[in-house]
């Protein structure tokens, strides 16, 4: 089940091909969508031919999801198509302006839809088989036959014991299985077109890969046209024949995937491509042990992904096995974690070993990344390091002293949370947020603290005007900068960064990562970086530890681990990262910017 099973796709498409063909199953012309008086999609043109995969990419608020929903007539309340025409196939009737009854004969039969979040897109109180069968029953299949077919569909989408699964409820299935069921529902009536709205953004990377493979396999065999909505350029690069880039409701660029993502023409596309964090198949931009001191902050161009990757990963630390092989010029370990174990009680009998005998060391001034999928124990390890949880066994030492013993040592470690929307008290002003650690530790008097807050905001590149705003008035990137400023207030030595950019758009993420790299260089900070995104890790970390089921399965310098994984799980993880296709075509990404 790989993309090459499909004709007309894959790496064979190179260079610019013909502009969009004039006919084909899906033809969108001048689509405009408004919520109330506010127009959010301003005249989008789009074509998807049979058997073709077109990716509609854009950041949040670009209108990509609205466009997708407009195409199947499922805009949320208040949304309506104000102009434009959508046609599907040879039929002369446009989809735009269909009455509800006519729509019912289009949805499911002619257009399948794969929704975003498998956690909520299945009805929690209806059996899985019943929900698949519903897609057939509503189009006239007798109930009994539909149930039988539903079991077959579950088998086709790769569920084990399909007959048993059909009788289960969604909460008894994993996220990946649920998304497979949703793919099965979308394909149940063998539609001409499948619209997939961020179908895997809620899934772990290895699961994501398998689900996308499945979608490609099923649609490829049936010759279905696919419109893939995604924010992830790497997914688009891997999976699409053509890419349409949407910004603020306007198509800014479109063309063959390889051309658009390989040699973008529009400045916005260039910015997006540049913002994608380091790729795994690129031969490591900086050899792990050859890097000089981190580059001066100002020599990184704001939109230079390659350049950022270069500065971030080039540190003078080279140890393949932490704690045993201090590299040349390396300082002794600031953070040392030995034999850490943490168990959680699930119920009376069962216990979950969330962290299982984890040991690693992080030298002063370096950046160590813990990577793994959800449930791997990486976040629990971070909480143990911070002293937020007590380990059942093992020790966490900072400079040889046990962590969390007293306030003085505790202030040396600070945290930046994953979600900047929930990590700031909605009632506090920005200044109050940043001042809080200073107040708590009785640092300086009021005037001195105010001065210090101003300095900190400046260091994270926030305008002093923002000091009196509240979090609700800030963008996601600004909020994360406030959180970083707060973490820096007490001059910590170790900063734990728990997925600090995973809630942010890719261009915002690039700027925050840049800031983090610069702060580390300037202040000699040590980072413990938690992430599921290997691209980000490659960009910011020197050393990486791969976690799976609570165990640290592999550690080593980023370049070595990513290019020559020793553990099979690491290899699987790396193979699952999207973006392999364009990366292979463009071995040196620096020329893209």
């Amino acid at each position: 089940m790989t993309l090459t099973t499909r004709p007309g796709t894959g790496a064979t498409t190179t260079g610019p091909v013909d502009p969009a063909p004039s006919g084909g199953p899906l033809r969108v012309r001048g689509l405009r969508v408004a919520y109330g008086d506010r127009e959010v999609v301003h005249g989008v043109d789009l074509d998807v031919r049979p058997g073709e995969v077109v990716a509609l990419v854009g950041e949040s608020g670009s209108g990509k999801s609205t466009t997708a929903h407009a195409l199947i007539g499922l805009l949320p309340d208040g949304g309506r198509v104000t102009a434009g025409e959508v046609t599907l196939g040879e039929g002369p009737t446009p989809l735009t302006g269909l009455l509800p009854d006519a729509w019912r004969r289009v949805r499911g039969v002619r257009v399948g839809f794969v929704p975003q979040d498998p956690g909520t897109a299945l009805d929690p109180v209806v059996r899985v088989g019943e929900q698949v069968a519903e897609a057939l029953v509503v189009h006239g299949t007798p109930r009994r036959a539909a149930r039988e077919r539903a079991v077959e569909i579950l088998a086709e989408v790769g569920l084990d014991r399909p007959r048993e699964r059909a009788r289960q409820y969604p909460h008894q299935l994993s996220g990946g299985m649920r998304q497979r069921v949703l793919v099965g529902i979308a394909m149940a009536c063998e539609p001409e077109l499948v619209i997939a709205d961020e179908p895997t953004s809620a899934l772990d990377v290895t699961v994501q890969r398998r689900v996308l493979d499945l979608l490609a396999d099923l649609t490829g065999r049936a010759g279905t046209a696919v419109l893939l909505i995604t924010h992830d350029l790497a997914v688009a690069a891997d999976r699409a024949d053509r890419v349409v880039v949407l910004k603020d409701g306007v198509v800014v660029e479109e063309g063959p995937a390889a051309r658009v993502l390989g040699a973008p023409e529009h400045p916005y596309t260039r910015e997006l491509v540049a913002a994608v964090p380091g790729r795994n198949n690129v031969p490591s931009a900086s050899a792990p042990d050859a890097g000089p001191e981190p580059g001066a902050p100002d020599d990184t161009a704001p939109s230079g992904a390659g350049a950022v990757a270069g500065t971030a990963t080039g540190t003078a630390v080279a140890r393949t096995d932490p704690g045993t092989d201090p590299g040349p010029g390396a300082t002794p370990a600031l953070l040392e974690v030995r034999g850490l174990v943490k168990e959680f009680r699930l119920d009376r009998r069962e216990r979950l070993r969330a962290v299982d005998d984890v040991s690693f060391a992080v030298p002063r001034g370096s950046a160590f990344a813990l990577v793994g999928e959800s449930g791997s124990g990486k976040s629990t390890t971070a909480r143990l390091v911070l002293g937020l949880e007590r380990p059942d066994a093992g020790a966490v030492e900072l400079d040889g002293a046990p962590v969390g013993a007293d306030r003085a040592t505790r202030r040396r470690t600070q945290l930046v949370h994953q979600d900047p929307y929930s990590s700031l008290d909605p009632r506090f002003t920005v200044a109050a947020v940043v001042e809080e650690p200073l107040r708590a530790h009785r640092v300086g008097d009021r005037a001195e603290r105010r001065e210090r807050v101003a300095q900190l905001l400046q260091q994270v590149h926030l305008s002093p005007d923002l000091a009196r705003r509240r979090p609700a008035e800030l963008s996601g990137g600004q909020r994360q900068r406030v959180a970083i400023a707060r973490a820096l207030a007490l001059d910590p030595e170790l900063l734990v960064l728990d997925e600090p950019t995973s809630a942010l758009d890719v261009s915002v993420q690039a700027r925050v990562l840049e800031l983090l790299a610069r702060l580390r260089a300037e202040r000699g900070l040590t980072y413990l970086f938690i992430s599921h995104d290997l691209g980000v890790v490659r960009q910011v970390a020197d050393h990486v530890g791969v976690m799976s089921d609570g165990r640290l399965v592999e550690t080593g310098p980023v370049g070595r681990v990513f290019d020559h994984p020793a553990h099979p799980y690491t290899a699987e993880l790396i193979a699952a990262i999207p973006g392999a296709r364009t990366a292979a075509q463009h071995p040196d990404r620096k020329d893209l910017t």
Partner: protein, 321 residues
Amino acid sequence: MLAYVLRRLAGAVAVLWAAFTVSYLILYLLPSDPVAIMLDQGAGGERVDPERVAELRERYGFDQGPLQQYVTLLGRTLTGDLGTSISSGAPVSGLIADAFPETAKLAGLALALALVAGVGIALLASWTRAAWLRDLLLALPPLGVAVPGFWVGLVLLHLFSFTWFVFPAVGNEGFASLVLPTVTLAIGLAAVVAQVLSQGLREAWRAPYVETAFAKGSGRARVLGAHVVRNGSLPTVTVLGVLVGNLLGGTVVVETVFSRQGFGRLVENAVTTQDIPVVQGLVVVAAAVFVLTSLLVDLVHPLLDPRVLAGAHGRTGGGAR
């Protein structure tokens, strides 16, 4: 499943015991002297005979310490003996048993009417695409919650008994005498049902699985019937125990307004004469009704929501009062 049932049963028994304890604490331990209250009521302001005080203290166990008193009372209650009324001398359990059938009729009818009306309003408001109709329907529940039950009863009496002479004004005789009390009792309950249910349906309509169902090609009716109603009614089911309890409370006012004999009237009389054993018996019985309803709801709930058994959901029975 068996473990779940046993857990719920044990919980029900514990709540019942605790309700008994709370009513004991309120009625017997608050500073007022129960015997003084009783005698004040009985003697109509005359001087009371100290011998009679002592006798009463002994009869009701007030000469014992609080803990001993409590244990005695609890033991008696467990055998089904709720004590004797002070004002009439009749056994409390007999009084309640006599009063209950009339009230069960009234409350049962009111519950049925309230469910039909409340569910009807919520479903119609959820179903219709006409904004004016939806707004009109959704304006009804806040109105129904705001009007005082005793006032509704009096207005209905005035209109249907004194102006148009359609229904009798008082008494327990025949079905006609049940109509106005049932309507009065049902209005507030129907309003709450409509509010909770339409809120639940509104949230269910917004759920992503609704979009999935539409994307399959399902029509509005099918989506409502197969997905929205089942999910949207779960919050209503969980507050059903509280609603039935409130219904019982509502009979106090309604039976007073319509001069009907029954549970509510017994409460009103017992409070007016400060007949402590009767009040406690009534409180415990009301709690038992709540506990039984909640237990039923708990046992039905897993059939409606399979996640309950997996422990993904919290306990039921709380929430709106």
